[in-house]
Symmetry: C2
Subunit: 350 residues, 2 copies
């Protein structure tokens, strides 16, 4: 099937950046902004995207929040790139207008509090979908991997990983590939989704390490960073395996690749740095929020921990680094002594 | 068995740094320098180690090259930390004096040209050992993982991975652990050894990326680095598996952790940067050699490629990044266009 039209919900960084490779494939893209993005959508009509600082591709059609139905009209694929809090309300509305069988590809990461119960986004989406259409199966793709939106919009070579259950769905999404936007596919949603979510959490730990050593005026502590990096991936792989996913996702773009990028740059590691330097964790979160920087890893740590505890409280004991990060950020433990204690117990048996 | 005495052959960065955790365990360390290190050993007698810029621990006994027999006298464990070219001659001499059953732990990385045939160091060592003692089995440990020597000597928290065939040998080496020097163990030599060798090669590629984009005055190309980082580990895992090792080593300290550190800092990535900026690869190698910086990854790329080709020439086709690096460094191909071509073909099937 030739793909002519795709809708993208969410006009922030990633939703807007994905329009570049889609347009370069000759696809008409309907970009819809949420009620928070009405002004942004208006500005894109007459100038560069305010976050990407770049004109969106010519064929992209812009829709403000009141035009959801129009934006979805005729869309053969749907990308969702809203914030995790926005996901359920947006998806709920979209389901009223979505064509049957339209695959849903989500760039949203993290966990969702679905009326008091913490869920993976794919799970929350499927539960909602089942209410709407009890007899159909949601065609779901979790999009992960190391893609910074600004770089993608500047056509810096990027690779992403699309995780889905069915191979034919994965084959079809290869249509979105360009020379600079490469797509790897993976036959498991949980592996991709959980790697993408938790890498933001563990990037905080790596940033924390920078913050701690900065205050000591020390430049060389790579050995310690490597322990944290390696353990982060090990713990993500344990989480994926424990939740029934395929841990091989972790050893590919969604884990290894994405943690590498996220630790090198970005708001999560920056947040960790502030905490490592001694800023009170909640204050650091609010400081960044004032600059319009939502620290996703903070929210994912909170909800992710709750998600784990609801499933099996004892499992936390297998995740000493996650536990240390949680204690530092939500229980006020000292970052340096927590990390030191973590290292003294290293390596941990499974 | 209580460990009282250990010999370390090679008084460069790593051989000297390992004396810190050993001494802190109350072990008497005999540190022997090769014929290239006689002056260095003399200087250590009256002041700080010239490379580490630090006094060695009090209980370390220093031996110059003529005193190998004395250095080995009574040693219950032997660490070897000479260069890869020095490994066979030093090990050959050592075998004349070594106590029966003394385990050999090597920090030397890379490949060895053993009279025209390229071998993994462990293989070359075992062949040599068999000539000396046809009826005994060499107790061999490959030491890998992300440990920069200067940081270890400054007691920055570090973790290493010791790979060996037998569990009881691995259990015994846990005696070398301290609070700041953590030891993970792994039941496979090849996985640790090959990860440690090839991470130096792939770190060149990551540095190259820095060099290329520096010349374009671009600061943001993390997406591309992540592709290279992820593919590097994938290729190392393929190499390990192909050679009969356990690829899980790659997903632990020896691969993931060590590539992370090596890409962030060190001579291999620096070398790659020079090449990415346009310096002729051989010239860049020689420039660094003049500063006493041996680019191990360069030598490992040359010998490692030969090692692969001698075993099965077709296997190279499964390693497109390694092939690109080889073409750039040994065949004069342009780094930018080779990497671009690599990305255009990404992802690669196995």
């Amino acid at each position: 099937m030739k793909i002519d039209k795709v809708a993208v919900l969410g006009a922030g960084y990633m939703g807007s950046a994905i329009t570049f490779p889609l347009s370069d494939n000759g696809i008409t893209v309907n970009l819809w902004g949420t009620w928070l993005d009405d002004e942004l959508i208006d500005r894109c009509k007459n100038g560069p995207h305010p976050k990407l600082k770049k004109l969106l591709p010519e064929p992209v059609k812009l829709f403000n929040s009141s035009k959801l139905e129009e934006a979805l009209d005729g869309a053969q694929y749907l990308f969702i790139a809203v914030s995790s809090e926005g996901f359920l309300p947006v998806f709920d509305k979209a389901l009223d207008h979505l064509e049957q069988e339209c695959p849903v590809l989500t760039l949203t990461k993290g966990f969702i509090d679905d009326r008091g119960k913490v869920k993976r986004i794919s799970k929350a989406a499927m539960d909602l979908f089942r209410n709407h259409s009890p007899d159909r199966e949601l065609k779901w793709v979790s999009v992960g991997g190391p893609v910074k939106a600004v770089e993608l919009s500047n056509l810096i070579p990027s690779a992403t990983i699309y995780g889905a259950k069915h191979s034919n769905l994965l084959d079809s999404v290869k249509s979105f590939e360009t020379d600079y936007y490469r797509i790897a596919t993976f036959n498991d949603v949980a592996g991709v989704e959980l790697s993408s979510a938790f890498k933001n959490v563990y990037a905080i730990g790596l940033g924390m390490c920078d913050g701690i050593y900065k205050t000591k005026n020390r430049k060389e502590y790579h050995n310690l960073c490597a322990i944290l990096f390696s353990q982060s991936l090990k713990e993500i792989s344990l989480i994926v395996e424990w939740s029934g996913g395929d841990e091989m996702a972790v050893w590919h773009l969604a884990g290894v690749g994405d943690l590498y990028v996220t630790a090198r740059s970005g708001r999560n590691s920056k947040y960790g740095e502030l905490v490592g330097e001694g800023t009170v964790p909640l204050e650091a979160y609010n400081m960044m929020l004032e600059d319009d920087l939502i620290v996703e890893g903070y929210d994912t740590l909170k909800l992710g921990m709750q998600w784990i505890q609801e499933k099996d409280e004892r499992f936390i004991e297998k995740l000493p680094l996650l536990k240390a990060l949680f204690n530092i950020i939500f229980h006020g433990y000292d970052s340096e002594s927590e990390l030191e204690q973590f290292v003294r117990g290293y390596p941990y048996s499974e």
